[in-house]
């Protein structure tokens, strides 16, 4: 080690070897790995590469990697592991969430090996979109001469409600299981998956809600929440059953009740036809019939 004429501390042997060469790096150091360990290995590989074929096409960065790359939170590849599903699998899970089978939980057969976030997210978004559009159609039929515009405040409200339900229930169940059982029976991702897919049945129901018949709306809501609620209960049954009898019934009822509550809230906010909301044209009809009756009485 000695000082060169420029004033830089340099190694004499290295400078003569590297004088006319430029390094082409082909494998990039993993920033999670210790830098000191990485440097000698990089230098040796680049030395070989540049010595043997200086002007050939450099290999892609993953050519020398034997272990899978560690992605960071701000790279999109980090989240790809939550989206490893095919079309067929998603369709299976959607149908499985709507058909309760008493002994087989669809969760064990389909989701457990491979939980994904694609299905739950897009089911929620579709639900919000269909509720918004159906609510719009209902407004159009109720107030026939009013503006036929999308009310974004209502849509935002419903979006917040649905997303809140989709995230809060898994969070509370996760912490409940941790507190009660002291172990992680279902991971948070699996719970998100279960609850996301459980909203599937409400998508066709929200189109049914357009029909302004009161008892039809109530029965379809209750039926839909019974069906998807029972799928939820079948999924959680093995874990809950191991607990005290009274406690397990209370928790099952709580799960089911909250599911029903969410559905009823959405229905009431957007769609419900009560006696007060009847079409404004009907009072005028009753008015006109009463005037006809009075005039006919006068004439008669």
């Amino acid at each position: 080690m000695m000082f060169s004429s420029d004033g830089f501390l340099t190694d004499n042997n290295a400078s003569s070897a590297n004088a006319r060469q430029t390094h082409v790096f082909t494998s990039f150091p993993n920033s999670a790995v210790d830098v000191d360990d990485e440097r000698p290995e990089n230098k040796s590989t680049t030395q070989q590469q540049s010595d043997s074929d200086k002007y050939a096409l450099p290999l892609p960065a993953t050519a020398n990697e034997s272990a899978p790359e560690q992605y960071h939170m701000w790279q999109i590849e980090y989240y790809q592991k939550y989206f490893q599903v095919d079309t067929q699998q998603v369709l299976e899970r959607l149908i499985g969430s709507m058909t309760p089978r008493p002994n087989k939980s669809y969760f064990d057969s389909t989701i457990r090996q491979n939980p994904d976030l694609y299905g739950p997210f897009w089911v929620c978004v579709t639900f919000i979109v269909t509720v918004a559009i159906s609510g719009n159609i209902v407004n159009y039929f109720h107030q026939s001469d009013a503006e036929f515009q999308i009310d974004f405040s209502k849509i935002t409200l419903s979006a917040i409600l649905v997303c809140f339900y989709w995230w809060m229930m898994p969070t509370s169940i996760y912490f409940f299981f941790r507190w009660r059982l002291n172990r992680i029976e279902y991971t948070f991702l699996e719970l998100l998956c279960i609850y996301g897919y459980s909203l599937t049945i409400f998508i066709p129901i929200s189109i049914l809600w357009i029909i302004p018949i009161g008892w039809l709306q109530w029965t379809s809501t209750i039926l839909a929440s019974i069906i998807s609620g029972s799928v939820l209960i079948v999924t959680f049954w093995p874990t809950i059953n191991a607990d005290h009898k009274r406690f397990s019934t209370v928790s099952i009822l709580a799960v089911f009740f909250l599911h029903l509550l969410m559905a009823v809230c959405i229905m009431l906010v957007f769609f419900h036809v009560s006696d007060n909301n009847i079409n404004p044209t009907t009072p005028s009809i009753t008015l006109s019939t009463s005037t006809i009756l009075t005039t006919s009485k006068k004439i008669a």
Binding site: T10, V24, D86, W122, V125, F148, Q149
Partner: protein
């Protein structure tokens, strides 16, 4: 250990130009291919630049309307077309006459389209598509052209038949918008469907379907000006 800096050498920290030259054009998503000529276009007259860029944008509109060639739109992406389309569509979809709320409506429509494009693009990337963010936004934006044409036709039809509320016109407008929706869907399927493996193609196409359906719904709604 520091390396010496010699005066007649290329400066520290730059590799030789040869491997870098081999990179250009091989990786899709590097944007424009005129990297080598970057410096030379600085000196040309402004009219030439505008004509060239405008020509590129118009050519891409042509590819979006009649989907025949799939490489130009993807590799030479630009965001001018989507910006123009989304702005004109948002202006057309304003309906209220008061100044205050019409500004809010413009912002709502614009934000909806922006967020929708971002959501669809991120979704296709997460599912492992070989497409970059801006390429996907570019294709989605350019394929909005049929819907914009339907909105313009709707507005002119409304203007012509403004006083008569004949149901036929409602049906005609509805059919025009549905046809434009199908056309936009077909065009974007041609471009974006190729970038995914076949087992996941439907998963990628479904959000695009939702996005264009929402925009078509907004255009259908815009039928009752005060």
């Amino acid at each position: 250990m520091a390396t010496t800096i010699e005066d007649d050498e290329t400066p520290f920290l730059s590799s030789s130009s040869q491997p870098m030259g081999m990179f250009t054009g091989d990786i899709s998503g590097t944007g424009n291919q005129s990297n080598k000529n970057e410096l030379s276009t600085l000196n040309e007259p402004v009219l030439d630049t505008i004509k060239r860029d405008l020509g590129a944008v118009l050519r891409k509109f042509g590819y979006a309307v009649i989907p025949r060639e799939s490489s130009t739109l993807l590799q030479q992406w630009d965001l001018w077309g989507p910006l123009i389309l989304v702005t004109i569509l948002a202006i057309l979809l304003q309906s209220s006459s008061t100044k205050a709320s019409s500004g809010v409506e413009f912002a709502q429509v614009f934000t909806l389209m922006l967020m929708g494009s971002i959501a669809v693009t991120v979704n296709s990337q997460l599912l492992g598509g070989k497409i970059s963010f801006f390429q996907s936004v570019c294709v989605l934006g350019y394929c909005l052209l049929p819907l914009l044409l339907a909105a313009i036709i709707n507005n002119t039809l409304l203007y012509i038949s403004s006083k008569s509320a004949i149901p036929v016109f409602h049906i005609i407008r509805f059919l025009i918008v549905m046809a434009a929706f199908g056309w936009a869907m077909y065009a974007s399927t041609r471009f974006l469907g190729q970038t995914q493996q076949p087992s996941r193609r439907l998963l990628v196409l479904y959000p695009i379907f939702l996005f264009y359906f929402l925009i078509a719904w907004l255009i259908i709604l815009h039928a009752h000006p005060k």
